[in-house]
């Protein structure tokens, strides 16, 4: 027994266990957010949504729908087109999935729990989210199909355009927090709802949320899939579990962006009642609960957008990214600099 406990106490083993816990939680969260999405969109369109598979003692009919879907995809044949590039075709879903899961390493989930508390955390996030595009363009090219190629091209141009707006929005966050460490960024926002970054960085938060939707290729920016024009875009030829991996990567990315919006602008794991209720009240304590609630709210926003808006036209997406969002961030960074210099607002910038 003792050797086993000693082995489990090794730092390497501890980190591995936490990595597994977080990864599996993300995958399970993906399963339930698919159900969440279908239910939400169903209700918005006056339907019931999935209500057949599984029910817990008569409650929540349809709760296991996602698991049934995964099982169905697992036993389905993976068809590789005859003229496709076999190696890259099979590797693309994995290349898409890895950055989506690896970025969770630096996301602070609670005051104590973050797998890698590194100082360049924000840069790590930017670096890994920018590599997520490889899965899509490799899939588009390796499929050897016009529609897939078009989808990949659209996706690539869109992600590059919105990454810049996203990065600039984060410059403002870094200026406000004075640190690239995500945990530190959350801690600098403590002191109640009014000191969250959303108050002082409102335009940047809006830009970040919009670019987050565009980065994950979700409606109304889902031209990379565009099922009414280019069938299903880059994953048109993918079936079975290879398709499921793309699906998993997309939803893991959505969860990640939701968590990052919460961390950068809405105080991450900080409680909204912090400073208004007595400090020993559990509602005022920082915990994973608050991050979870905020994350779910932004996931709901994603689904709400999808049920509400028609798809953007491609040139308008480009126009929005380059000519609207980037100038907004540039102006607000200048405004923030002036405010910090004149000591207006809760800036923690040194000097």
């Amino acid at each position: 027994m003792q050797p086993l406990l000693d082995f489990l106490a090794l730092p390497v083993v501890q980190s591995t266990i936490w990595i597994l816990v977080v990864t599996i939680s993300v995958i399970l969260a993906v399963a339930f957010s698919v159900l969440f999405e279908r239910k939400i969109i169903g209700w918005m369109q006056l339907r019931k949504g999935p209500n057949r598979v599984g029910s817990l003692f008569g409650f929540w009919p349809g709760v296991f729908q996602a698991f049934a879907d995964v099982l169905k995809l697992l036993i389905k044949e993976v068809v590789i087109p005859a003229r496709a590039n076999r190696v890259l075709f099979s590797a693309a879903p994995i290349i898409a999935l890895v950055p989506a899961l690896a970025t969770w390493a630096v996301v602070p989930l609670s005051p104590e729990l973050v797998i890698a508390d590194i100082d360049a955390g924000l840069l790590y996030v930017l670096a890994l989210t920018s590599t997520g595009i490889y899965g899509v363009i490799i899939a588009g090219w390796a499929t050897n199909s016009k529609y897939a190629m078009l989808g990949a091209m659209r996706c690539g141009a869109q992600i590059i355009a919105y990454e810049i707006a996203m990065g600039f929005a984060l410059v403002g966050v870094v200026m406000a927090a004075g640190s690239l460490n995500l945990g530190e960024i959350v801690r600098q926002q403590s002191g109640g709802m009014l000191t969250w970054n959303i108050i002082w960085l409102f335009p940047l938060a809006i830009v970040y949320i919009i670019s987050g939707v565009a980065e994950t290729n979700r409606a109304p920016f889902d031209v990379a899939e565009g099922e009414s024009e280019i069938v299903a875009g880059f994953h048109v030829e993918y079936s079975g579990i290879a398709f499921a991996l793309f699906f998993l990567a997309e939803y893991a990315n959505m969860l990640l962006i939701s968590a990052l919006i919460a961390v950068f602008f809405f105080g991450g794991w900080l409680s909204p009642f912090d400073g208004y209720l007595p400090a020993d009240n559990w509602l005022a304590q920082p915990s994973f609960l608050w991050l979870g609630i905020k994350l779910s709210a932004f996931m709901f926003l994603y689904f709400w957008l999808r049920a509400t808006f028609p798809r953007y036209r491609y040139d308008q997406i480009m126009r929005l990214g380059w000519k609207v969002l980037i100038p907004v961030t540039l102006v607000w960074i200048a405004v923030e600099g002036v405010m910090a210099y004149c000591k207006v607002g809760p800036w923690r910038v040194a000097g």
């Binding site: 890259l88 590194i118 100082d119 360049a120 840069l123 790590y124 930017l126 670096a127 890994l128 920018s130 590599t131 595009i133 490889y134 363009i137 490799i138 090219w141 190629m149 990949a152 091209m153 690539g156 590059i160 990454e163 690239l180 126009r319």
Partner: protein, 209 residues
């Protein structure tokens, strides 16, 4: 070179050799694969593994920026161009013999330099002592930022201005207004009022015959 100093750093050594092996293989792949897209992807892999090696020598800022800039932006655009051009293998090999001497010349110069660095004891890797590994709470990002905005601030600003000039120049060189292109003017679309487009005509009702 913090690799060789620690006694128990077997894990680091294993990682170093694993990354190096992948890096060498990827670099060979860049110049040997026939397909240009495969070449570009090998280059991406090479960037990634060199970022890993930089991580091992505790240069985490440089490592992450390498991935962010080269893998995340430069190589994506590169890959695009290669995919769009659809370069044929035959066409690519046409000039092979003509330019082979230049390739051999460059390769031999690079090899000579590398051998010189490793072989010469005085100026080689043995002459410079490996710095002691820094404590875990040392942040190279923080240090780099401090130096960049104090000691080297003019050089930094100058580099930024140069890049800005380069961007403006690139746009000025490539942008041309072609006549006769049908484009929408968003400002005009927004400014349109119903009165400009729709004329409501009041038609008198006719008497029934």
């Amino acid at each position: 070179m913090a690799l060789s100093t620690g006694e128990g750093d077997v894990f680091v050594m294993v990682l170093f050799y694993a990354y190096s092996a992948v890096l060498v293989a990827a670099a060979l792949g860049v110049i040997t694969t026939r397909n240009p897209v495969h070449s570009a992807l090998c280059l991406v892999l090479a960037f990634f593994t060199s970022a890993g090696i930089w991580m091992l020598i505790e240069a985490e800022f440089l490592a992450i920026v390498l991935v962010l800039v080269y893998v995340g932006a430069v190589m994506v655009l590169f890959l695009f161009v290669v995919m769009m051009l659809d370069v044929g293998v035959e066409e690519q090999r046409r000039g092979f013999t003509r330019y082979a001497w230049l390739g051999w010349l460059t390769a031999s110069v690079v090899i000579a330099e590398l051998v010189g660095v490793i072989a010469a004891r005085r100026v080689g890797v043995d002459a410079t002592q490996a710095p002691a590994p820094l404590p875990a709470d040392y942040s190279s990002t923080h240090e780099l930022g401090t130096v960049l905005y104090t000691q080297y601030v003019y050089a930094f600003e100058l580099a930024a201005m140069l890049l800005l000039v380069a961007i403006v120049a690139a746009i000025a060189l490539t942008m041309r207004r072609r006549a006769g292109v049908k484009m929408q003017e968003i400002a005009r679309q927004v400014a349109v009022r119903p009165a400009d487009r729709v004329r409501i005509v009041k038609v008198e009702a006719e008497k029934r015959r």
